[in-house]
């Protein structure tokens, strides 16, 4: 049975490369042309804008380091979302889970930074981040399970609550001595930063964590009983329940796992090499939502979410140059990313609707 599935999967992969890849390329071209139309309306040369984004992402080692620093939390969030999406869940609450990870990590570091060696503090803070995100994620699961509150709205509300909690902490109990401002808490000393290279401000630890997360999720979903059950739940919850899958328990686990990985991303946003090293409002900076787009674009495939999250990190960081160099809003990066996902949806739809009987 299992071998049969594997073979089938291989055949599907070949099919994927032969037929799907050209369509994905068509989708990318469609997205780029739509973005070019928008730029032309704004009377800005598309070539100019695209090359600005590229040079903003890869123009210097420092810029590449920024891209890599943005890539790490995106990888972690994507890994988490692969779990919830496999179970058919819309974890829009991921933003709040990132925030709570950052809050828990900050809290722990504030308490222990003077009494333990830095490496121990960093490690414990990572665990605190995992815990904070997991708890916030399971809260969404609990609202859904015991209150029948749809996870989209439960998660969304919890995002806002996590945001206001951060503001409260920054202006209240954790405010900087003398000046209580929304610029954030007192930054942590460099001993509590993840070690980077001398001339390259990106830590390999962040990226390795992100890649390990994606790989473990891929293996867990494909090869473990838990993964199989989750996918069964995702395909047909009622059938899975009738077949004896502990649906409730698995849904909680899925939310908890996704929240934990998002919480780890929150930790990276505090201790990461290019981070601001403090807690500030909106610390999640949309990484969670962006990861939703990544996973949608990757069509829930772990492997593809690696290069896609990298290019999304590059687009996001590269477009930060736009307002500095031209009269253009940095949201153009978001427009390109959104156009990409929308184009893939459209092209996929056209393929399944009209090209099905060919070839």
């Amino acid at each position: 049975m299992i071998w049969g599935n594997r073979l089938e999967e291989k055949a599907l992969n070949k099919e994927f490369i032969r037929r799907i890849i050209p369509l994905q390329i068509a989708a990318i071209l469609l997205a780029l042309s739509l973005s070019a139309v928008i730029l032309t309306i704004l009377s800005i040369s598309p070539i100019d804008a695209f090359s600005l984004i590229l040079s903003g992402a890869f123009g210097s080692p420092a810029k590449l380091a920024y891209v890599l620093t943005a890539w790490a939390p995106l990888l972690l969030c994507s890994a988490g979302l692969l779990v919830t999406f496999a179970a058919g869940l819309w974890n829009i609450g991921i933003e709040g889970q990132v925030v709570m990870g950052a809050v828990f990590a900050t809290g722990l570091m504030r308490i222990l930074q003077d009494s333990l060696p830095p490496s121990a503090v960093l490690l414990l803070a990572a665990l605190a981040g995992l815990l904070g995100g997991a708890l916030w994620g399971m809260l969404v699961g609990g609202l859904r399970r015991y209150g029948s509150v749809n996870e989209i709205f439960g998660g969304l509300g919890l995002n806002f609550i996590a945001g206001s909690l951060t503001v409260y902490l920054i202006l209240g109990p954790w405010k900087r001595p003398g000046i209580g401002s929304t610029s954030g808490t007192e930054p942590f000393p460099p001993s509590l930063w993840l070690p980077g290279f001398k001339d390259f401000q990106a830590s390999p630890i962040e990226m390795i964590l992100g890649l390990i997360a994606i790989a473990s999720v891929a293996i867990a979903l494909r090869d473990t009983h838990f993964g199989l059950r989750l996918r069964a739940v995702g395909m047909n919850m009622k059938a899975a329940f009738l077949k004896g899958v502990p649906v409730d328990q698995d849904l909680f686990l899925a939310f908890g796992l996704c929240g934990a990985l998002a919480g780890l991303a929150g930790w990276v946003l505090i201790v990461g090499t290019s981070a601001r090293h403090n807690l500030y409002p909106l610390i999640s900076s949309g990484y969670g939502y962006l990861a939703i787009l990544v996973v949608l674009l990757a069509n829930l495939k772990p492997f593809w979410s690696v290069p896609i999250s990298f290019s999304f990190a590059a687009i996001s960081m590269g477009s930060l140059q736009l307002p500095l160099q031209r009269q253009l809003d940095s949201s153009l990066g978001g427009v390109i990313q959104g156009m990409l996902v929308l184009s893939v949806l459209v092209i996929n739809g056209i393929r399944s609707r009209w090209l099905r009987h060919e070839g």
Partner: protein, 328 residues
């Protein structure tokens, strides 16, 4: 501040969210979830303001908002109902995309003054004691949004096409058997819903929060509106009550802020969100399987009371909400 003025100010701030909630209620009643509400409101607010500014006409601004709103709805309808792609995913992508489009196109128009809808007291009525200042000394949009609530209610429950609309969301197969082109009708109501949402967006930038900025300050309202649709049980009047309650809550938060100056202001602006989750919990908890078991263990009188309260609050969506109708 005395009560009539307070209620009047709540009503004055309500058209955007009332229109958004009404538009989405119509769309969802037909069985379609348009999750792009938050981005739609921002983009239509921006477009409405910019068009009104260029053409020096608020009417043109509102029309532009409606056109853009139904354009977004059309993309959602096409991708989900013609191309069979997941509706929630499409709506989510659209909400982020429209938000970013609003920021990109709106950049040149941030913080500049422009036209806005002026006040229009209804002569003869506005001097009435108590209800005069509440109801008849308002912006034309306030009158329009309140009338729209009644109109939608009448259309849903008192007309033949309204009955058909409910059928689209509840039992599309039955509607199809009776000769209705389900997909075409769903397109129609999605577009109408989108246009009304666009009216809501434009009433932000041309009335409640004149102008444009980044951030504009209404980010998140669309999500609240989606939650109010659930709270309203897909019933226009109940949804309108929900929208007004939400506005009352925001006003209360502002008042509380002036009473307690020590608490950071940012905290009050998020106050409505926990309340939103709690109210959603209240209206949906009756659907959970464990509530019945727990209730059965309670003493008779208390049980009856609780069941009656939960029943009154409980809402459940149109049976075919979010599913795509395919004729075999």
């Amino acid at each position: 501040m005395d009560l009539p003025i307070l209620i009047g100010s709540i009503l004055a701030a309500s058209p955007p969210i009332l229109f958004a909630v009404l538009g989405e209620t119509i769309t969802e009643k037909a069985g379609v979830i348009n999750l792009s509400l938050d981005g739609s409101l921002l983009l239509t607010a921006m477009v409405g303001f910019v068009v009104a500014l260029h053409m020096d006409s608020v009417i043109a601004g509102f029309l532009a908002g409606m056109v853009v709103g139904s354009l977004i709805a059309f993309i959602l309808a096409f991708v989900s109902m013609t191309l069979y792609q997941p509706q929630v995913a499409t709506g989510f992508v659209l909400t982020l995309l429209c938000r970013d489009l609003a920021y990109v196109f709106g950049k040149a128009y941030a913080h500049i003054p422009g036209p806005q809808v002026s006040h229009a007291a209804i002569p003869g009525f506005s001097d009435l004691p108590l209800i005069g200042p509440i109801l008849f000394d308002q912006n034309p949009l306030v009158y329009l949004s309140l009338m729209a609530v009644i109109l939608v209610w009448f259309f849903f429950f008192k007309t033949q096409p309204g009955l058909l609309l409910q059928g689209l969301g509840e039992r599309p197969a039955a509607a199809y058997v009776r000769g209705v082109d389900v997909t075409a009708m769903r397109y129609l109501y999605t577009l109408i819903g989108g246009a009304i949402v666009g009216l809501g967006g434009a009433s932000f930038s041309l009335m409640v929060k004149p102008g444009w900025a980044r951030p504009y300050g209404i980010e998140g309202t669309g999500w609240i509106a989606l939650a109010i649709v659930i709270f309203g049980g897909w019933h226009p009047i109940r949804a309108a009550v929900g929208a007004l309650l939400f506005n009352a809550l925001q006003t209360a938060a502002n008042l509380l802020q002036s009473v307690m100056p020590d608490v950071p202001t940012q905290l009050f602006s998020t106050l409505p969100f926990p309340v939103m989750i709690l109210t959603l919990l209240l209206v949906t908890i009756g659907n959970a399987d464990w509530t019945k078991r727990v209730l059965n263990r309670l003493p008779e009188g208390m049980r009856r009371f609780l069941i009656r309260t939960l029943k009154a609050l409980q809402t459940s969506p149109p049976a075919s909400l979010g599913t795509i109708f395919k004729k075999e």
